[in-house]
Amino acid sequence: MTTLEQKPAKAEGRKDPWSQLLDKVGKHQDREAYHALFEHFGPQIKYYAMANGLASHAEELVQEVFVSIWRRSCLYDWRKAAASTWIFTIARNQRIDMLRKMQRTSAEMQVETEDLWQIPGENENEPVTSLHRLMSERRIRDSLKHLPEEQITVIAKVYMENKSHQMVADELDIPLGTVKSRVRLALNKLKVILQDQNV
């Protein structure tokens, strides 16, 4: 908070447009900003639902995601996560939640979806690391352009089609080890693995 008040100009400069809009929704229940987010992310989430085998519930999922965005927006802190990252995790959680409710055989779920899958930036003890976060998203977008097609295909199947590494291997008819090494190579370039070595 204080950072924002002390250096408004500099802080604003670091905020991408979607994060600024989400911030407005959270702070002022700004419906115009909410609508702009809907226009941008709604069609992405609809595709996400369809790719995940929820074709007949795709619009329902988009609705659930946006109602959830509205409800949770007051918890959103742009310094802790970019809006697109935050919205992706909401979409993922709503997708998991919808599938759990559809598949469940027993009456009550003992564990809520959100007990298992975290939304970034909602950990109270997390230090504010805006620069790191925003750079990381920018870096991923840039690095992704240089990845070979075969690596992107595997990552896309894992993220967009809800497929485990084993399922991707079966579908592409390649060994599991090949899938894993493609993912490792990609994560290496995206600097996720590099962080492993600093442990």
């Binding site: 595709y47 369809m50 697109s84 003992q110 992704l144 993220y159």
Partner: protein
């Protein structure tokens, strides 16, 4: 501070939302205590966001935004969620406050177990709590398939090192180990088993809590 972390591939499957509930639980318990892995998952979540952005877009029906507005306006009880403090952890929610006073089933000597698979009714895996009494030893065993374990209390040691609270370890059928509880507390672990444990010692049938 935890020393043993989930590998990047598991964190990626977590971030993509592809893990089973018991496996997601193990990762989540670790994440709650490990800022390092939280930051890795944040990066992976950003990867998910960028992937979603790169995919085709499908236009939504004209009336949908109005429907959403109607929903958020019509429900007056639709208060924005507030951070609930203090938050009840998922472990406490599942198992109550005191891990030591659970209805443990003594297996042999120093080992007690408690099968909590029924808390995950729609999942295939076996979910088991194991308790090794302070200073106690477990019989040597390997694992059929894969066993994902997180230390909930105390610490254990085997030939691969010392595993402290919130440390994360995956064992396969290649790993034979003989864990010993170290420190002055009983060591309690949560394990997700894709297939039952196989004992390699002398008491095979007798001891194995995971054989029917």
């Amino acid at each position: 501070m935890t020393r043993h972390h989930p590998d990047s591939l598991s964190l990626m499957e977590y971030s993509a939302g592809n893990l089973s509930e018991p496996h997601a639980l193990c990762i989540r318990l670790h994440l709650d205590k490990c800022p390092h892995c939280r930051s890795r998952v944040d990066t992976l979540d950003s990867l998910g966001a960028v992937m979603m952005e790169e995919q085709p877009k499908v236009s939504v029906s004209e009336s949908m935004f109005d429907d959403i507005l109607a929903r958020i306006s019509a429900e007056p009880e639709l208060e924005p969620v507030k951070p609930s403090l203090p938050k009840v952890g998922v472990l406490e929610k599942l198992l109550g406050e005191d891990l030591n006073s659970l209805p443990w089933k003594r297996q042999l000597g120093d080992v007690s177990v408690l099968d909590i698979s029924e808390k995950f009714p729609d999942q295939k895996e076996q979910v088991v709590l194991q308790k090794l009494a302070a200073g106690g030893k477990a019989p040597a065993h390997t694992h059929r398939g894969e066993e994902t374990t997180i230390v909930l209390q105390g610490a254990f040691a085997d030939q691969k090192g010392v595993f402290n609270q919130w440390d994360f370890v995956v064992l396969t059928d290649q790993d034979e180990h003989k864990p010993v509880a170290v420190g002055c507390e009983d060591c309690i672990t949560l394990s997700v088993l894709s297939a039952p444990v196989k004992l390699t010692g002398t008491f095979t049938r007798l001891l194995n809590p995971f054989l029917r």
